[in-house]
């Protein structure tokens, strides 16, 4: 990862911007891909937090806050530009997409599926070499009540399909690890979300 590609903005600065809509560096934030990706991640996190609040997160125990902390800790790292992934083109051109953009794509694909929130996400392999095999490793927080094998297969298929369209990576595998379970959504008329 090239540290010079990181714009240096902090997550809490962007969180303030998200809350207030104002920042002395609003122009930078509007034009910086890293900041935009971090804002998208923060929005997903806020949505997840609201969902948890609806499920009475206060009574859910420490495991719930654990995955939230994990997601927040990985957010900063994963939304950096990262490595440069070459794209085929005219020999005189230099075409590429950033690793951060691809990881954000994987996250968006996962988060768009019902019952899934992507936590840690890594591209393992030399993405800077065209055709080199790459494994996509994702940690997933799943909502209780969704069949995990089916969910994993659905996620793998969606990620592979997305990467096939939006990248030229040689995806050797998409490895899904369920690392957290969230309480089910409370049914109307029930006291607790966990009762099925």
């Amino acid at each position: 990862m090239n540290p010079t590609r990181d714009c240096g903005r902090r997550i809490w600065d962007l969180s303030d911007f998200l809350d207030t809509g104002a920042s002395p560096d609003a122009e930078h934030i509007a034009h910086c891909p890293q900041c935009q990706a971090r804002l998208a991640g923060l929005r997903s996190l806020h949505a997840a937090a609201l969902e948890l609040l609806e499920d009475d997160v206060a009574s859910a125990g420490t495991e719930e806050s654990g995955w939230l902390e994990t997601m927040l800790a990985n957010l900063r790292l994963e939304t950096r530009a990262g490595r440069s992934i070459p794209l085929a083109g005219d020999p005189s051109d230099q075409l590429s997409e950033t690793e951060g953009a691809v990881i954000a794509l994987v996250r968006n694909i996962g988060d768009s599926l019902g019952g899934v929130l992507i936590g840690r996400c890594r591209l393992d392999g030399d993405v800077t070499v065209p055709g080199a095999p790459v494994e996509v490793n994702v940690n997933v927080s799943a909502r209780y009540g969704y069949p995990l094998p089916g969910l994993a297969e659905q996620l793998r298929e969606a990620v592979v399909a997305g990467l096939l369209v939006e990248t030229e990576l040689n995806v050797a595998a998409v490895n899904v690890a369920f690392t957290d379970m969230r309480a089910p959504i409370a049914e109307p008329g029930t006291e607790e979300g966990g009762k099925l």
Binding site: T4, Q36, A88, D93, T167
Partner: protein, 112 residues
């Protein structure tokens, strides 16, 4: 309008392009702003979106055009990068005939 601004407008008008990002990382932008503040003249440093640099290419005049973009997601990112590079080469060929062009196109965000 400068060549860089014209290229930015051209790229923003292409199908599938949602945004043209600042070409420089923040640290370099700050450095340029400080440099502009210390140098004579009242013009502040502009936020560069497209960087055009002349290079020596085996005795032939070569222009390197560097740009970072975000895709809307309706055009696959690799195809979008190629179409943007081709559009830049066509534009430079018309505006500055005889120049060799190296288009450095980076997709910095997908589906934004």
């Amino acid at each position: 309008m400068s060549l860089e601004e014209e290229i930015r407008e051209l790229v923003l008008g292409l199908e599938g392009v949602s945004i043209v990002y600042a070409a420089d990382p923040l640290w370099l932008t700050v450095l340029k702003q400080v440099g502009a503040a210390l140098s004579p003249g009242d013009d502040p440093a502009q936020l560069p979106f497209v960087v055009c640099q002349m290079e020596d290419g085996d005795g032939r005049a070569t222009m390197r055009v560097q740009i970072r973009i975000g895709s809307k997601g309706d055009v696959p990112a690799p195809a979008l990068a190629r179409s943007v590079a081709a559009a830049i080469r066509r534009f430079i060929a018309a505006a500055r005939p005889g120049l060799e062009v190296v288009a450095a196109v980076e997709i910095a965000a997908i589906g934004v």
